[in-house]
Amino acid sequence: MSSFNEMCDLEIRFNQNIDGLHLQLLDGNFNTVYEGVTNQLSVSVAKGVYLLKINFLDYYQEEFIFVDENKEVELDIKYPATAPVLGFITTHEYFSYPAADTSRQCTVDSSETMPPNFCFFAARYDMHIGTTAAEEWLQHYSVYNEDGTVFYQLDILNSRYDNHFGSVGFSARLNPGVYFLHYKNGDESNIFPMYVFDGYQSQFFVRYRDAPDFLNSIVFYTQRMMFDIAFEEYLVLDKIQFAYKDISNYASFTERDKAIIAQHPYLVALMNTLKYSLRGNELAMQIDFDHCPALPIPDLLIAQTGREMLFDLSEELPLLSFTMNMYTHVSNREALLFKPGSLVDRVIDYAQYNLFWNNFSNIGKLEEWKPVYSEVLKNASFFSEEKSDSPEMRMCKQLVNSLPNKHQAPEAASAVDVGVNYLMGEKVVDKESADKINEIIGQVSDVISMSKELGVPLTSVLRDFKSYRELYNDLKSRL
């Protein structure tokens, strides 16, 4: 008869060497027998059915382990890394190798002897996820230059693709400056500002399910001028984003993580941006990369200038992104704060562009960026007119669209009516213009009524007048 109290040696290892894994081992009766941060575990335990809980950043995985004798267990961390590094299940060599090749040799010109300084790589999360042939993805991407003209339209001739495993890559050697990676697929549209710096390779990685998962896309600027499966800095970037989510997560950074950050000016810039944005926070003040070279990204410059300045400029400059918005909030309100940009709102609604301003994009010099930004707005029709619009509605929209100073805030801000502010995406206009708009808005009684009755801002009603009118009439008929 065997004894169930007999002790066994349990060795747990992982196929990926990850710093900062949090492990919790529970015995068959839910008692914790080990809890801590380690990437391998060696314990002596009684026979039992154990549950191993694995946490890494926001990722969670668990494994049951049946221990009836001495046991060595080797586990895979199935972390959905965006950059195909470190042999995760999402980063098979059939993704890593083409990414590495793309980063080392320009796909647009095979005779180019210098490494590319602009690299785009997209791959499925897994070769079995998604059905569209990878080469079909290419037509959705183009690279614009500052003038707004297409610099490259990605296609099968200037890019590499693998339909079997599901990946595409594009790389080129571009003059330093600002570019826009544009994704457009039907009504879906995103623009990512991408900067090319001297001595850096700008990298953009995105994963696909049926569609691109831009919320999990990353931008990286590396002096290595290449990508490799063994590079650990991409995982550290994920950790930094996790610290943006909640500064208390910085406590989980290992010495190795910090050493890697110190070697990458881009990562240093991100850490310093976080530090200066959270002035006064005890943990943020422990961030110390002042001795390391940092990429002078605008985010950093603004954060150094001060928090109030950040608020003001965030209305003017698309520094903070939807992507980072996933990480910039936290429960203890100690995160990097920013005012949601009316710019983004307006552009999405009226220019049909979903500007995906990546916080981690480098925006060169601010003064260079402004005219580009202004052009986008100038060409955007704030309120698109529809055939179904009433004459009053059309007149109202035309008036708002025709305001000459809609891009600039005059000093007489105090006189602006709240409704007009809503209309203008919270931009201020002068009193005379405001009065004119109010006068016409007043004539559009339906809009006002709907806004009040439905409890939604005027601007929302104007943007989707037809739908709101339908709903309003429906509700009215039921009251």
């Binding site: 169930f4 039992g48 969670y60 668990e62 049946f66 949601p340």
Partner: protein, 328 residues
């Protein structure tokens, strides 16, 4: 006196769900089965979407909250409790403010109720001593959405009662909440299906006979992620409290039938072994499609092994006093 407002929305025009209405009905059923709502005709407002109507545009919720608050305020009962349950799409505007999407969303982007303002409105109504909020919806961040304030006066505070509050969010802020196939042909919210089991007894880890806010929080924190992993989902629910909500006694637990506390139903014809948390072999037998084992299991991790195919299935029994189910 206990009151409830239970909302479930499947029929979103652009992003329909399939389990939210069933979840809401299931929660309402749990309330009435456990006799927590004594007069369901008056005190339980079940608001669910249907393809043949336009219910759940938001107006119904306003009316329900206003009616229930008025009813409770006029009730001199020494303890008034409100259950507020929502299942549908949601958006995390802030940590404290989940926008509850009405069926016109996202066609009408702002057609969402402000979870925060509705909660404040209910608190300020001065009608309740305990407020239990259950939100089974996503909390992904969308800074563009402007959720609606209640149609009733939600800001004026009527003094009298300072409620203890418990808020159960099905997922962490900024994260998705999933529907899962609890049966091959039945999708349900992962959190609600877990929650019902928890309230039926799983959350009474120490077999005290009652489930408190605190015991529910511990059960959710310790075990919900494991439950979600069974469906290959990463989801982490959270229970928060305000004003000593942790001491709320949510319900009493049902006692299990004396003969067994676990039923395993087999969907195979094979020879199967059940292993105890200590790896001891508990039972080995031939099974057929539909065979059930009604057994008594201690709290812990268990393993079922198909001795012909080698297939394994791990499961857990959280509570010895309630009947749990597993399929293999």
């Amino acid at each position: 006196m206990d009151y409830a407002i239970v909302i479930g929305i499947d029929h979103y025009e652009k992003r329909p769900l399939t389990g939210a209405v069933a979840d809401a009905k299931s929660f309402a059923q749990w309330l009435t089965d456990n006799k927590l709502i004594q007069q369901p005709d008056d005190n339980l407002k079940l608001i669910v979407s249907d393809k043949d109507n336009r219910i759940t545009s938001g107006l119904e919720v306003d009316e329900a909250v206003a009616d229930i608050c008025k009813l409770a305020r006029n009730n001199a009962d020494p303890k008034n409790r409100l259950y507020f349950y929502f299942s549908g799409h949601g958006i995390g505007q802030t940590y404290d403010n989940t926008a509850l999407c009405m069926r016109q969303w996202p066609k009408l982007l702002n057609y969402c109720l402000s979870g925060y303002m509705y909660k404040q409105g209910i608190i300020n109504s001065g009608a309740f001593d305990e407020i239990l909020i259950f939100l089974d919806c996503c909390r992904e961040i969308d800074i563009l959405v402007e959720s609606r304030q209640p149609g009733f006066d939600w800001k004026t505070m009527i003094p009298g009662r300072t409620p203890r509050i418990m808020i159960c969010n099905s997922t962490a802020y900024g994260k998705l909440s999933y529907e899962v196939n609890i049966e091959p042909d039945q999708k349900r919210g992962a959190f609600t299906s877990f929650l019902i089991e928890a309230l039926n007894g799983d959350a009474d880890a120490n077999s005290t006979g009652v489930i408190t806010g605190q015991s529910l929080r511990e059960h959710v924190a310790n075990n919900f992620k494991t439950y979600a992993q069974r469906f290959n989902k990463i989801q982490d629910a959270k229970v928060d409290f305000q004003d000593m909500g942790d001491s709320i006694v949510i319900c009493q637990t049902q006692k299990a039938a004396p003969s067994h506390n676990f039923i395993i139903t087999f969907k195979r014809t094979s020879n199967v072994t059940l292993y105890a948390p200590t790896t001891e072999e508990l039972k080995t037998a031939d099974v057929n499609l539909g065979t059930t084992w009604e057994i008594n299991l201690e709290k812990g991790n268990y393993l079922l092994k198909d001795n012909n195919t080698g297939e394994l299935k791990y499961f857990q029994n959280f509570n010895t006093n309630t009947v749990s189910h597993e399929q293999f």
